[in-house]
């Protein structure tokens, strides 16, 4: 290790810290802002819910393929609170609020995806080689 090497290493560490700081500023606030919940039944979009539209609190009934489910929206999060399906997996999934997360009810063919407009990091789905 020469002096130049050490300077480079130190420079990188500083850069990493700055980048982490930058990341927490840009992405964590930016990604959840304007998040939308896209609700699909049998592959078709039936409803989009704007999360983060102020202090919203809403409960509504969603007609699935076989039976209705109850969906709750509160403070930028969405969840299924009640479903007559046997496994209750969608209910146990709980609240979701981050782009890329989803609730999927297989028997009733309901999919709720959180999507975001800008700065979305949910599109990163490749493995670099």
């Amino acid at each position: 290790m020469t002096r130049a090497d050490k300077i480079l290493t130190a420079g990188v560490i500083v850069l990493v810290l700055v980048a982490f700081f930058f990341n927490s500023k840009v992405f964590s606030t930016g990604s959840k802002d304007g998040a939308t919940a896209v609700i699909k039944v049998q592959g078709k979009v039936v409803m989009t819910v704007d999360l983060y539209q102020g202090e919203n609190k809403d409960t509504f009934t969603l007609e699935g393929k076989h039976y209705p489910e109850t969906v709750e929206v509160e403070n930028g999060s969405i969840r299924i609170i009640e479903s007559p399906c046997p496994d209750q997996i969608c209910v146990k999934r709980g609240w979701i609020d981050t782009p890329g997360e989803s609730i999927i009810c297989v028997p009733n063919e309901i999919v709720i995806d959180i999507e975001s407009g800008k700065n979305s990091i949910d599109e990163i789905d490749v493995i670099a080689q």
Binding site: M1, T2, R3, A4, D5, L8, T9, V12, I13, L15, V16, A19, F20, F22, N23, F27, S31, N119, S120, I121, D122, E123, I124, V126, I127, A128, Q129
Partner: protein, 169 residues
């Protein structure tokens, strides 16, 4: 004679690089984030740069990505583009450091190459996927290029001791 000597050496280096490239693709990712990897194939590029120079280094880097992707079946896919851009950018940066800034040791050059590799890859990825959000990975990748660059640099330094200097043209 020297020409044949060089031809054989370069061929061996390309072969070695291809083998490392494929082997590395088979290894499970040792890091918690996708995209980070050990960069074993970079050792070969680095050796070529030190033994021969920029032109040969670039050639070896290009050929090992080409053959490695051809053999692992990822050619012209997104991962091929990422590999290629990373390899070419890092070779370029390492060659510049070796040629013009003698203050850096092999380890420093290797770390810089590793950084350049990740940066080049990330830029290509952001252009190809059209998602600026991918830069979220930047600090993670930069951070992991320190240990990987350091270790490949160390391995290269050890290897260069055993490689005959007369293999220079």
């Amino acid at each position: 004679m020297a020409k044949t000597h060089k031809l054989v050496y370069i061929s061996l280096l390309v072969t070695l690089g291809t083998a490392l490239h494929i082997m590395e693709a088979m290894l499970p990712n040792p890091f918690p984030i996708p995209g980070a990897k050990l960069g074993l194939a970079n050792i070969v590029t680095l050796i070529t740069l030190y033994l021969y120079g920029f032109k040969e280094g670039l050639g070896v880097a290009f050929l090992r990505v080409l053959f490695g992707s051809l053999l692992s079946g990822t050619i012209f896919s997104l991962s091929f583009m990422l590999s290629l851009s990373g390899a070419l950018v890092s070779t370029l940066v390492m060659a510049v450091l070796i040629g013009f800034i003698p203050a850096f040791s092999i380890i420093g050059v290797s770390v810089a190459g590793s950084l350049a590799h990740n940066l080049g890859q990330l830029m290509t990825a952001s252009i190809l996927i059209q998602a600026a959000g991918i830069f979220y990975y930047l600090p993670f990748l930069l951070f992991f290029s320190l240990p990987t660059g350091f270790s490949t640099g160390l391995i290269t330094r050890m290897l260069l001791k055993y490689l005959p200097r007369e293999s220079r043209p």
